[in-house]
Amino acid sequence: MSIHERVTALYEAERHNIYSYVLYFGVPPGRAQELTQDTFLKLYLTMSKGEAIENPRAWLYKVAHNCALRFHQREHTFDGLGPGVDPADRLPDPEHAAMEHQRRAVLLAAIRELSPQQRNCLHLRVAGLRYREIAEVIGISTSAVGEFLRRATVRLKGVLDGY
């Protein structure tokens, strides 16, 4: 399979995930889409230069992560969980699912209390990245990933145990 074909297949399969990941950093949709496309273009150009990329998917997250941070640094602040509204308030019919609503609201609060690094590690883990890939994306050691995930797990487990 040629480089072009490999990147095309990845582009088709992963662009929505990368787009969501960039949005997660509070980047507006238009810029998020541009950054996502730039990320895949960078992958193509890098591979075309002959550089070996062991795990292109993790590489994409890493570049998207850096792009989102650079956007934030240059343009404005962000809230890692979205545009500032409480997602729990957007549930379609909270009366019919009061307990679920409450559980999710508490879960949301717990997630919001996680540090950005803990949330990011958790997000990437749930996105299917391996331990060492998360470390590579964020630029920290695997032991730090372990520590962030451990704290996030303990925090969320406390919330889940209450329901």
């Binding site: 850096n66 640094q73 549930l91 949301l108 969320l156």
Partner: protein, 539 residues
């Protein structure tokens, strides 16, 4: 809870990191058995998984629905690679003294419209080219050469029967393979037949490329890949400007690649009076192999215009090893012309460009790098002070990232040269070519040294003093071939680029900055020393 953290290294239980590695399938069998047997570790693993599931639920049900869809349709990857497309004027063709046939005129117009319509996908372009070609009358008296399993055979271009008896075992097998693929064996070099096979595929991937030979002849190659059936890839080459099919490649799952080409009577293939389906072995159309010197001359020509470093230009031999194919994608029209011009004098070279082209220089499509917001603020402030202010730090950062990337590209070019021209291959070259090879190598090494010097200069405010002693050959570098010595240089150049990216555009804790700077200083010093040893060796 990270048990090993609490209980120390002697704990019988696994750490959270090891539990996560278990999920990734990266843990030793012994530890995996422990997790299955140990209630405590199994419970902690389930807690981790429950937390992930809760977060996934939170994300899928609350966050993701709030995110707006992309405001614009996704651009195809080709458009991203090629950048914005300005309107292209149609090419003006020089008409010969004789009036062209109406079908050929139509084919030219369709080819021009198809190939210069930037909004069109590869499948649509392939369909239009094949449809236009299929309207041409087929030559019922021509011959085609068939190359299979190392033999070249000749058969009529059009056969009366698909099941004509054949003595040759290769032909019998081919007939069967084409039949299994539902591809009409009677007229394989036909756009109509190709289109018929292609249109029945449940899933396919198409591409269209422009091929230009050294004598300026152009043709279009339509290539279709599929995951279904026994015929996995087929391509048909259509001559420009009349779209007459002149060659085809058929990659069968079981038979390997079958190559076909129009056989020109009176040149290499014998003309057959009778269109019998029985093939006869003949000499291949061209038997002169394209040796390593052809690749070397291509590299030297590209080096003249800097196209051998950091550009998406791939060089390979064709499957018959009779030509060196230079393939380029996503480069501007001007750059295409420059490449074509420098390669024009070289024999046995074929150019392949993507069908669509860019008017934007490649370098401008890459967004400029900026240092990361994740550099800890106090550290960034220190960096800025050492550089004389934020704007100067920003400029130096951009320059260093760019230079690091150029050094990695230069190292890759050196690696390619070392790989393609092993000591044995080098030995087989004529003396002038060996000198040419050494000049190319020296150019790469010299340019790499310039880039490293620029990085050192830019990094001076940050790095501890770099050791600049005389280069040491104690590790035996000078005793090795230059090809073997290239490997550590390439490795160090890439590591330096990675370290620069991490330092200036990565995310890390302030406490690790000193270690990163020390490591970077060491890498640069090692790279500098390796290059100087290589240059002093004077190979």
């Amino acid at each position: 809870m990270d048990t090993k953290h609490l209980a120390g290294a002697g704990s019988l239980h696994l750490s959270d990191e090891e539990l996560a590695r278990f999920e990734d399938g990266e843990i030793a069998e012994q530890d995996a058995r422990h997790i299955e047997a140990c209630e405590q570790c199994g419970g902690r693993l389930r807690d981790m998984q429950a937390s992930y599931a809760a977060y996934r639920l939170h994300w899928d049900t609350l966050c993701a629905p709030l995110f707006p869809p992309p405001p614009q349709p996704w651009q195809p990857l080709d458009c991203l690679i090629e950048g914005p497309q300005p309107p292209h004027p149609l090419r003006s063709f020089r008409w010969g003294p004789f009036p062209a046939l109406a079908g050929a005129v139509l084919a030219i117009i369709i080819a021009a419209l198809v190939l210069y319509n930037p909004g069109q996908g590869a499948s649509a372009r392939a369909t239009q080219l094949l449809t236009a070609s299929a309207k041409l009358p087929s030559s019922r008296h021509g011959l085609i050469s068939v190359r299979v399993h190392g033999r070249t055979l000749v058969r009529p271009a059009v056969m009366a029967s698909e099941t004509a008896p054949a003595d040759d075992s290769d032909i019998v097998r081919l007939q069967a393979a084409f039949a299994r693929a539902s591809y009409d064996w009677r007229e394989p070099l036909s756009a109509r037949v190709f289109q018929s096979w292609r249109s029945r595929l449940p899933k396919k991937r198409d591409s269209v490329t422009v091929i230009r030979t050294a004598d300026e002849k152009e043709s279009y190659r339509v290539r279709t890949e599929t995951d279904s059936g026994v015929l996995r890839t087929a391509s048909l080459t259509l001559r420009s400007p009349d779209l007459h099919p002149i060659a085809g490649d058929f990659d069968f799952e079981s038979e390997g690649t079958v190559e076909m080409a129009e056989a020109v009577p009176g040149e290499n293939a014998p003309e057959r009076a009778s269109p019998l389906p029985r093939p006869s072995p003949v000499a291949p159309l061209t038997e002169t192999p394209a040796g390593p010197e052809v690749t070397l001359h291509v590299l030297a020509a590209l080096n003249q215009i800097g196209a051998d470093v950091g550009e998406p230009v791939e060089i390979a031999q064709d499957s018959r090893r009779q030509r060196v194919v230079v393939h380029a994608a996503g480069i501007s029209r001007e750059r295409r012309q420059q490449i074509a011009d420098v390669l024009k004098p070289l024999p046995q070279v074929m150019l392949e460009f993507d069908a669509r082209e860019s008017a934007v220089p490649l370098a401008r499509t890459t967004p400029q790098e900026r240092y990361s917001a994740s550099i800890p603020a106090p550290l960034r402030q220190q960096f800025e002070e050492r550089f004389g202010g934020a704007p100067r730090f920003q400029e130096a950062t951009d320059r260093m990232l760019e230079t690091g990337s150029s050094a990695a590209a230069q190292a890759h070019a050196l690696e390619t040269l070392a790989r393609d021209f092993s000591p044995a291959v080098e030995e087989s070259l004529a003396s002038p070519d060996r000198e040419l090879l050494h000049r190319l190598r020296d150019n790469h090494v010299s340019e790499l040294q310039n880039l490293v010097s620029r990085i050192e200069t830019d990094l001076e405010p940050l790095l501890p003093a770099l050791p600049k002693g005389p280069p040491s050959a104690a590790d035996g570098a000078s005793a090795r071939s230059w090809q073997a010595s290239a490997t550590p240089i390439v490795d160090l150049a890439r590591k330096t680029d990675d370290a620069l990216n991490r330092l200036l555009a990565g995310s890390y804790a302030q406490s690790s900055a000193d270690d990163m700077l020390r490591a970077l200083a060491t890498q640069i010093a090692q790279l500098d020393a390796a290059i100087r040893v290589e240059r002093q060796a004077g190979r």
